[in-house]
Point group: C2
Chain length 446, copies 2
């Protein structure tokens, strides 16, 4: 993309309404615009990151054998009356009446609807196991929306639901979700730690939250800091292999890591003092096993091998897709702006033309731009007639991990400059070498 | 995807509520489930087609130089009070009050919000031209939703908005949209004819609708049937070349083609009788040029080169993404089910195992499945323990354009059978040849 033809409305001033760094940088980098309290437009740059995150979530869910579908945003109230949650849910549920005065609501979550889909179409244990998920906009009418997309009212969430015959099967589904989530966050460049959690309004016995450590997090967290060094890496997980999946879950949950809701000071005391850490965390996902809570109240049953009929064992599992943008920025920034991890960056690299209008420099930049595109890469070329300082400031603010700087002086020596946004380090090399290096970097970050 | 692990709840019976073939087949093929009047869940098969359509729309918009973003589903009523449409829009607008009793609405379209984004961030003619679009769920509270996704209440639409300095520039944007839409529909295997239309509640002088001919269409259409033979084909369009883009628009609009709203019997009479046709059509898109209607009322102005301030010239352009599934099926089916065009098929081909459980047949199917996946193709392998007849019926119903049938008799001769869903013709060949043929077919349908 050529910046002269893009829509990237960066702000020079710090917006007064933003209390935390991610909100401030998302506004300043022209990623979002507030349309009402807690309701945002995703401007082109923000939308690109949102799509990259969504894509990673999809890929990892499909890899785990989970099946995508899409439920609507509006739901009939009757489904929620069946489960008993219509009255339980407080004012956070946005209740709506249509033109025929029928009670509707903007879905805050989808346990009822997915259970309705299941009971309408599945009748036999032979159709199990089944995990269905979607990525769809939700609405929670928070009394005081704040922190930008971190606590918005209209937000994008991945929510998935497993249907299993036995508790053992459902716990395997739970574990499968834990592993797929670990891989999802890792691909985004995030360390998200699974922590035992309290269940809240969804209900459920087994539940873990995934927390990203950040000083602005809403939860206090207590952990053994060796947990932050665990990596799934490039292991090729067989999601049907129960022992393997369970082994990974054990590896990632055996070290102490809890939120204030489930913290146990006596157990925490047993962590060696050098590793005992207290901090804050941002919740970016949660998995639940809740058994037959919805299948019983809503009649989602299957016929078993012996002909009897049993309610299915279920769980639900969510990733806060839009919230992840905030969490990513909270965890990846400096005082100049955002520093995107390669897995989620909106553009793979930036090209800064130091002398726009100079025929040789323009031609070199064009050549570089086309060579990067020919490699399947998506560069942002700052071809505006602006000072170098302004171009650098924009690139630093929007946080592309790599920048190629092209100027007459370098070109005289046959080189361009490749700069890492994270380290700030620059290296001179030929344009061809810069293209090859960028291509290699992204080949290593699938 | 292995069918034994998929969620494809096909129905044997014709659902009583479906009055038209697309609605009937979408329900029978397990593509959608109604959750409330005019509100649907997109089950896995339907969701896949929806995503393929969305992907084509994105690719062609980006090719035309238009920039994606994403506006929220809910909007504050105040924006619509500014444009004067809050009171004009009737009961089709779903009005909502949040917990603080603020007036909100579920967006039926986005002229106001995009104009608000524009005026907040753009101040100079130098930032023009600009075309922004999104693909987002909309809501229109139809009094009698019907025909499945063809006239739903919650529906997915691509809507794009151009901002230009002059009327001439805005008309180029209009033409650019026409050409990009022609290519979009053609890639889906649809003949959608641009017809001069009346403007309706959006306002506007120049407007064309795109209609797909189908006997179940809601509009009566009058046309010179030579218009149905026009093809954009593989022309490499330069969307910045005004003359080229205009030339294509002239080519596709010079033959008579109008809806009943703009039909002129006297002009129609001049079409040679052999080519004069009256039929019905389904609207799948519309483009509008409306000048300064919203920019004036909402103060979206830019400073020009001479320092004066003028309201921007605008247009809005929509494609009915979810509705297209219905239109595609209306235009592509027979009495056995759907016949997907290659451009939008949910799976590239089906594999039918005639003797599930037979070691050699199972192995041949597995090999074929993996060979197709290795080519980047997405096959659906019917590995269920079912009769051949039931497997064929399912494949015919869900409409994959190509089916590979594998059985012990063919394998004894070293062949499988490749069948075209559209022609019904079969050909025997080696498994390798079948894979190569399918790969070639999709390479030719990008």
């Amino acid at each position: 993309m050529r910046l002269s033809r893009y829509f990237l409305p960066v702000l020079k001033e710090n917006p007064a309404e933003a209390q935390i760094v991610s909100h401030r940088y998302m506004l300043r980098a022209g990623m979002i615009k507030q349309q009402a309290a807690g309701i945002y437009s995703w401007l082109p740059l923000g939308y690109k990151v949102l799509k990259r995150i969504e894509q990673i979530v999809h890929e990892e869910q499909i890899r785990a054998g989970h099946i995508p579908l899409l439920m609507p945003t509006l739901q009939p109230a009757d489904l929620w009356r069946e489960s008993g949650r219509y009255d339980d849910y407080g004012q956070e549920m946005l209740r709506i009446k249509d033109r025929h005065e029928r009670d509707m609501l903007y879905g805050p979550t989808n346990e009822e609807m997915i259970t309705d889909i299941f009971r309408s179409h599945v009748n036999s244990y032979k159709d199990l196991p089944l995990t269905l998920y979607h990525i769809q906009w939700k609405f929670r009418d928070e009394v005081r929306p704040r922190f930008g997309v971190m606590r918005g009212r209209e937000f994008l969430m991945k929510d998935g639901y497993n249907f299993d015959l036995t508790k053992e099967d459902a716990l395997h589904a739970y574990n499968r979700h834990m592993v797929s989530y670990l891989r999802t966050y890792e691909r985004m460049g995030l360390t998200a730690i699974p922590m035992r959690a309290a269940s809240g309004p969804i209900g459920g016995d087994n539940t873990h939250e995934f927390l990203v450590l950040a000083s602005t997090g809403e939860s206090e967290v207590f952990y053994d800091d060796r947990v932050t060094e665990l990596k799934l890496g490039t292991r090729d997980v067989d999601y049907d292999n129960r022992a393997e999946v369970l082994g990974i879950c054990d590896e990632f949950t055996s070290l102490y890591a809890r939120t204030d809701e489930t913290h146990d000071a006596a157990v925490f005391e047993q962590v060696p003092e050098a590793h005992r850490k207290v901090g804050r965390g941002i919740e970016v996902g949660q998995i639940f096993y809740f058994g037959t809570k919805y299948s019983e109240s809503m009649g989602a049953t299957v016929v078993t091998a012996d002909g009897s009929r049993v309610p299915v064992e279920m769980g639900s599992h969510g990733i806060g897709v839009s919230r992840l943008l905030g969490a990513l920025i909270e965890a990846n920034h400096d005082d100049k702006g955002i520093i995107w991890p390669e897995g989620v960056t909106p553009f793979h690299c930036g090209i800064v033309n130091l002398k726009q209008g100079d025929a040789a420099t323009d031609a070199a930049c064009e050549g570089l731009y086309k060579a990067l595109k020919a490699q399947g890469l998506d560069p942002l070329y700052d071809d505006r007639d602006e000072r170098a300082g302004a171009k650098f400031a924009t690139m630093d603010l929007i946080g592309l991990p790599w920048r190629i700087t092209v100027g007459p002086r370098g070109l005289a020596n046959g080189v361009v400059e490749l700069t890492s946004r994270r380290s700030g380090e620059s290296e001179e090399m030929s344009a061809e070498a810069a293209v090859a290096r960028i291509a290699q970097i992204y080949a290593d970050h699938p």
